[in-house]
């Protein structure tokens, strides 16, 4: 049973560029949430997708956008990258009304 997978593992971009991160949820899960984890901090909620729509959003600017596909996989897009966007980006999946989220290994984004 495949868990949550994310790609790429690492990514280096420069300021002003755009980036797309990808996530495949755990088998049978239909909800995908994205989190940003800065060094030394706990993960912070970016947004959650369910039925291909953004269901909830955290306190992140519009530069952060996402998408969920019919197969429940998801993308996180960040435009106009800033140095402060350097972080570990985590994807988590869950099913239906379950409150437990299962995390992928993350994508380490470095903005130079």
């Amino acid at each position: 049973d495949a868990g949550v997978t994310q790609s790429p593992t690492h990514l280096i971009k420069t300021r002003g560029q755009q980036v797309t991160l990808r996530c495949s949820p755990k088998s049978g899960h239909d909800t995908v949430s994205w989190y940003q984890q800065a060094l030394g901090q706990g993960p912070q909620f970016i947004f959650q997708y369910y039925e291909e729509e953004e269901r909830q959003r955290g306190n992140f600017p519009d530069r952060f956008s996402g998408h969920q596909f019919p197969n429940y996989s998801s993308e996180l897009n960040v435009n106009a990258l800033l140095l402060g966007d350097s972080a570990l980006y985590l994807c988590a999946s869950s099913f239906g009304t379950s409150d437990t989220q299962y995390f992928g290994p993350g994508t380490r984004l470095t903005v130079l």
């Binding site: 993960p43 985590l90 988590a92 409150d99 992928g104 290994p105």
Partner: protein, 115 residues
């Protein structure tokens, strides 16, 4: 504004003894709580959870206690093993049972179990 707080950045425990990790929260609307373990270069791994209608949940060596009046929860690991050495995150959410929940995390406690 940090709604979930883990005030101990680190904890060292001898192998075989009990590890107690603590977590405090400020939002009285939180009704579901989780503990995750994180190794370097990996994502958080779900350990155990508890709903606000309970005050204790046990799973093998792991027990979570919830004190709603004090807005405090703790994770007990007995007996502690060297493989338990990791960073432990406490998380909380509201809207239990809806699936539409965003998790609020603490800043983590690094547990080191000394052989």
């Amino acid at each position: 504004d940090q709604q979930v707080k883990q005030n101990s950045p680190s904890l060292s425990v001898q192998e075989g003894r009990i590890s107690i990790l603590n977590c405090d929260y400020t939002n009285s609307m939180f009704d579901y709580f989780l503990w995750y373990k994180k190794y370097p270069a990996e994502g958080p791994t779900f350990l155990i959870s508890i709903s606000s209608i309970k005050d204790k949940n046990e799973d093998g060596r792991f027990t979570v206690f919830l004190n709603k009046s004090a807005k405090h929860l703790s994770l007990h690991i007995v007996p502690s093993q060297p493989g338990d050495s990791a960073v432990y995150f406490c998380a909380a959410s509201e809207g239990s049972g809806t699936g539409a929940n965003n998790l609020f995390f603490g800043t983590g406690t690094r547990l080191t179990v000394i052989p």
